[in-house]
Amino acid sequence: MLRLAPILTLAILLGPIGAGLLWTLLPAFGYLPVLGTRDFSLDPWRELAAFAGFRSALWLTITVGFGATVISLVLAIALCATSVGTRAFETLRAAIPPLLATPHVAIAIGFAFLVAPSGLMVRAFSPWATGWERPPSIATVNDALGLSLIAGLVLKETVYLILMIIAASTQVAMRPMLQAASALGYGPARGFVAVIMPQIYRQIRLPIYAVLAFSLANVEVALILGPGNPPPLAVVAARWFAGYDLGMYYPASAAATLQFFIVVAGIGLWRLMEIPVGMAHRLWVARGKRRGVAEPFWGGAALLGWSSGVLALAALVAVAAWSFAHRWRYPDFLPESWSLRVWEQHAGSVTALAGVTALIAFAATLVAVVLALACLENEQRRGLSVGQGALWALYLPLLVPQIGFLFGAQMLLVQFSLDATLFAVIWAHLLFVMPYVFLSLADPFRALDPRYARSAAALGASAVRIFFTVKLPMLARPLAIACAIGFSVSIALYLPTLFAGAGRIATLTTEAVTLASGGDRRVIGVYAFIQALLPLGVYAIALALPALIYRNRKGLA
């Protein structure tokens, strides 16, 4: 049984993606037997190209994708480079879990509450400083260039990249090398970028590609913060897929397929750009300059990074404030009166949605944890070493754009009459939960001192008993964290719920996104707040539970 775990896991992950890509590709060329078309043609592509906003949508997709990724990476490096070895680093580490757990939809909604023309930032300075008696007519959200969309993506992605940099830097002797660099006269940020970054870049490469793929193809953040006409390509495809005109499935498939190739080409381009950037880096290091723009540049970027963190927290506060606001008119910075009215009105619906959301998240996480543990235990028992290929396979669901395969996967579900079932939604979520759960469990599992298991075996314990009574209890803490991560990943998912649920299964996230396109801010606030609170609550439990169970066991502290 255990031997089959890796194969089974790969089949569960890669099967739907491969089949889904194919079944999106075929309709892009006119082949969709469900609708009775079996002749291959290029009409869907002509239709896509004839779409009035096609070129702008394409350009927007690329600028937002690369813009958000480059900015997030620079901010993440800057925050790490300027804070390693200082107290600020502890603040940074402490800020990561709550921000990482918060769904990007909730942050995007809160961010819109902050920067909208009638948002809190304008209110803070109006009318006394700006003279704006009414909200200014500037598009600060949903702007045509996608700047607010880039900002919204950066808020979330910077946090993820910081986590990846910190995790990778534990693999190198960071402190002594930075001390050596500073003894040679290099400032802290210059030292970090010159010495540490080249050593860890290989380890953070896949996470960066995942961020690039997400930025290029994200739909839900673009729906909240991106321009509407034309939106980025992925949103174009999602709209056409969701429309009532089934004929639009063809150009939508073409757009989705194009989106897939944009991501593939984008990652390829990034990989190619690593070569000249690496060469420039080596030349820069070889010049041996100790002074120059490096420190002020990274210092400035770090400042921007800290502000983005503050902004993300402020976004959550804004969401909460709106949900409890009663009268809150422009330009008041604080609500005139507070009320629980909206909460009371939506209590039933919120509870039901939270229940479904939690059920899906719980089921997907449970399956992911069981599969991940089975794979890791199998690997350990058989003394396998896992190569680069397995890592790529694991990252695949995070690299392939969701819009590129979800329609095809839905077509398959329809064939087996599984669409719009909880089973289908849970499976769809599993694809995205699995990589995060596995990656967060793998290091602690592999790092567990093998001599504990050997001692237990020498005492006569069977492999099964060792697994359940030695390894699992000792891994209680990382196991709980992995569950919380899986849970929060699932809660944040939008498109997978939409497609696998055929639009008939709603979660807090799908509801929040739907409402965000022009509802009452109070109502949006309620759904976004609960959506953010649920994963945070699970995180808190994950941190508290092992600590409580092992309160009398210092060795596990």
């Binding site: 058989r382 003394g383 075996a457 005492l459 006569g460 030695v470 009398n552 066991r553 060795g555």
Partner: protein, 231 residues
């Protein structure tokens, strides 16, 4: 005294006439890739004797121990027979070999109490909650750890942890003892005590003991024959 005594004596005396009682290694050859580490090593450890294998790090002494215990990493290729009281055990998985092992660290399970750690080791042949608890309490008393059943292992001193680890190992009724530099992390004065504690128990139970170390004092205290490996 300990159950181990009775058990060691039960063991069938030499089914193969040629090999004597105790732990016997015959023609152990270990290589990593193409590079040979040990070649045709023979070793006889009679019951109650402590045989020391010495050598610098990289000489293969810990690898030898891992092979005898059944934990050899897949990166190594190994040949040779390990016999316990005349019966070959090389084909058995680690959990069926009944070899007690002590490592450099005590490796008490941090999530279990001291008593639960010992109970984890205690032979399943001892049945009944009360009987098992009593057996563990007895062992704790013997190790000067009376009343420590419910203690968190992390709150014990280094010497107490070392003694608890030995008791956990002995409660499993091992037929031989493998020691992988178990004294090297202890403070010097403590080291002498623990050494004496371990060796006296091994002798009293008549356990053939294989000690791997790079400390000459260990070898002297063991009093048995010494095999030195070269790097």
């Amino acid at each position: 005294m300990m159950d181990g005594v009775a058990l060691t004596k039960q063991i069938n005396p030499a089914r193969e006439e040629a090999s004597p009682a105790g732990l016997v290694l015959r023609g152990i050859t270990i290589a990593i890739g193409e590079a040979p580490l040990l070649s045709r090593l023979d070793l006889d450890i009679p019951p109650g004797d402590v045989v020391t294998v010495m050598g610098p790090s990289g000489s293969g002494k810990s690898t030898l121990l891992a092979y005898v215990a059944g934990f050899l990493d897949k990166a190594f290729t190994a040949r040779g027979e390990v016999l316990l009281d005349g019966a070959p055990i090389t084909a058995l998985p680690a959990q069926q070999r009944r070899l007690g092992i002590l490592f450099q660290d005590d490796l008490l399970f941090p999530h279990l109490s001291v008593g639960a750690n010992l109970a984890f080791g205690l032979d399943a042949a001892v049945t009944g909650r009360r009987a098992r608890r009593a057996r563990v309490e007895e062992a704790l008393d013997q190790a000067g750890l009376g009343g420590f059943y419910d203690r968190d292992p992390a709150t014990l001193s280094g010497g107490q942890r070392a003694r608890a680890a030995l008791m956990r190992t002995l409660l499993a009724s091992p037929r031989a003892l493998l020691l992988d530099e178990p004294f090297s992390k202890l403070d010097r004065p403590l080291r002498k005590d623990i050494r004496e504690f371990v060796f006296s128990h091994a002798r009293a139970l008549g356990l053939p003991t294989l000690l791997v170390t790079h400390d000459h004092e260990d070898a002297d205290a063991a009093g048995g024959s010494v095999l030195t490996l070269k790097a």
